[in-house]
Amino acid sequence: MTKATNSTSKAGADTSSGSLRFYGVWLIGIVALIVLPMIFSSGGSLTSFSLIGIAIVFALSYNILLGQTGLLSFGHAVHYGLGGFAACHMMNAVVSHGWPIPLPFIPLFGGLGGLVFAVIIGWVMTKRAGTVFAMISLGIGELVASSSLILRSVFGGESGITTDRTALPKMFGWSFGPQLQVYYLIAFWLVLSAIAMYALTRTPLGRICNAVRDNPERVQFIGYDPHVVRYLAFCFAGFFAGVAGGLAAINFEIANSAYLGAIQSGFVLFSTFIGGTAYFFGPILGAILVTYLQLGLANLTSAWQLYFGIIFIGIVMFSPGGIAGLVMMHRPLVRAGTLWTVIPSYLVAVVPTLALACGVILSIETVARYSGGEPIDLFGIGFKPTSPVTWVAAVVLVIGGAFVARLSWRRIAEAWDRAATVARDRGYLA
């Protein structure tokens, strides 16, 4: 989907070829969004694309906090959920009062819902960063999620608030009944939001957010109040999370307490972190991957959340920069022309690493399915969870795979050091 160039280090390097490439990337993203449903037109893929689009807006809004301002929130779904409820109430109000507001404008009201709450609660929350902010966000998240079950008139209790998107006034003759029309509505708001959030990183406020992330103490001595900076970032993040929630409300025609809860907050943190917080396009990659995995894995295995956990821990431990960090790590090597020296070591590592992964999957599935006894289908090979053969295979794959994989990873590291040194000597730092 849409990608953008590095948000932090492309300051004044606006050569004409650079800006051409920059607009080219955005254009490719927009074109991809338009043609995707023409290539994959099944109902299932349209639903997936719609969910991914919503997840991208949500993850990008989260990265305004985490990646750009250095605020770790455990309650970002509050704004998403309130945006969803605001959108549902607005849609129902439009229908019952007969206001001339067509559906494509509804996400704006979702955004306002997220924004209003951020404006009210944000000033207290952003007084401090770090652990204090993280803890308050967790508390507010729980508070709002549990209130949503108690305050029935606003949140509709357990069942939530339902709505009918097709009852709103038509626009261009679109009823927004078919999923394809909803997809294009989401894609439109995705592009709009992504451009706006990217533009935000290029404003004086956006840059001072980065400065607050790096060193809030020093910011005070260049004339800025870090509290105000954090507050404004929080409000922007709340607005765009609300837009995402509004899109979700349109997509599902319902808003309920699950929108606001800790699982949803954890999901956006996962997506953003796995994608990588240091680059604007990181959360986009993360949202695509995590949503896709969520949809795909849930069909394959009952232990899909365990795999999420393993992926998350793996990223935190071995690649704190996320997928985007891994990708961008290669940029100096590509520029210096030394990438080809590390490729062979990658290829050598593929086999033992895959063996290790298969061993882990086999172990997990054996444990998960032992009592039920359903067979395991691992890339076309059948295993019985109750059979000792399976257990031995799992152990051999895990231990043997780990042993050989470690050796091959060490070779990667060595090849990397050599290639990176050459790149640095040639003057390519990033």
Partner: protein
């Protein structure tokens, strides 16, 4: 010099300032006057409270009692960014830059408030001519133009110290306070840094904490000697050199 020390020409006036942490008085009855346009060095043995004095003046910590004035206005009790907006800027003893941002962006951030950008989220930061020109000028001044796209965290130590000075002067503050700007530098690097400081603070008021006595006596118009949170002497380098109290308390030790 004492005839120049009147309310009208003082850039910084510290009057009877006291700072206690619990029962421990770090700063006691501190009186200090820095005249507009002078280069004023604060020296003293380790633990005398030099950095605390800096923190008290720049608003990093609040005095327990007493008052600090900047250009005649009371600033004690104000937040650091409020004091900064009134034209006082400081550097830090431990390098304190924006590590993940490039050299260019470090300096540009320091230029933003002074050029009136405030918290603007409707302007493209790359297309503000005044910001760009001032940033380029500062980078040129601190000789880091060739390193403009390098993340500050990847600079050499001496370069980071120069960037630190660049960020400090970028706002165009009229009162500049530098906390041990040459600490940890080699002789050649120190000479470069002193020349840089001399050039960049031309026409401004400079307050400097420094351990290197050749730097202090070469650069300062006046020197204050701080011992145990109290100024024991203030005067020209000559006066300080001859002062018996200073000899006893500080220079005589030959500890530095």
């Amino acid at each position: 010099m004492s005839e120049a020390v009147t309310g009208m020409t003082a850039a910084i006036e510290v009057r009877a300032v006291e700072k206690r942490f619990g029962n421990v008085g770090i700063i006691r009855d501190l009186n200090l006057t820095v005249v507009k346009g002078e280069r004023h060095a604060i020296i003293g043995p380790n633990g005398a409270g030099k950095s605390t004095t800096f923190n008290l003046i720049s608003g990093h910590i609040k005095p327990t009692s007493g008052e600090v004035k900047l250009n005649g206005d009371v600033i004690s009790g104000l937040r650091p960014f409020e004091i900064n907006r009134r034209g006082l800027s400081r550097s830090f003893q431990v390098t304190n830059v924006f590590a993940r941002m490039t050299v260019w962006e470090n300096v540009r951030c320091a230029v933003l408030w002074a050029t009136g950008q405030r918290y603007a989220f409707w302007k493209n930061v790359d297309s503000l001519p005044e910001v760009r020109e001032r940033t380029a000028q500062i980078l040129d001044d601190i000789h880091l133009t060739h390193r403009r796209d390098v993340p500050a965290g990847l600079l050499t130590y001496a370069e980071q110290r120069e960037l630190e000075i660049g960020i400090t002067i970028a706002s165009g503050a009229t009162v500049v306070m530098l906390d041990e700007p040459t600490a940890g530098m080699s002789h050649a690097e120190t000479d470069r840094a002193v020349a840089l400081i001399r050039r960049l603070t031309e026409g401004k008021t400079l307050v400097i904490v420094e351990h290197d006595m050749s730097v202090v006596f070469g650069l300062a118009d006046r020197i204050s000697v701080l011992v145990y949170g109290h100024i024991i002497a203030s005067g020209t380098p000559e006066e300080i050199r001859r002062d018996p109290k200073v000899k006893e308390a500080y220079l005589g030790e030959e500890a530095h």
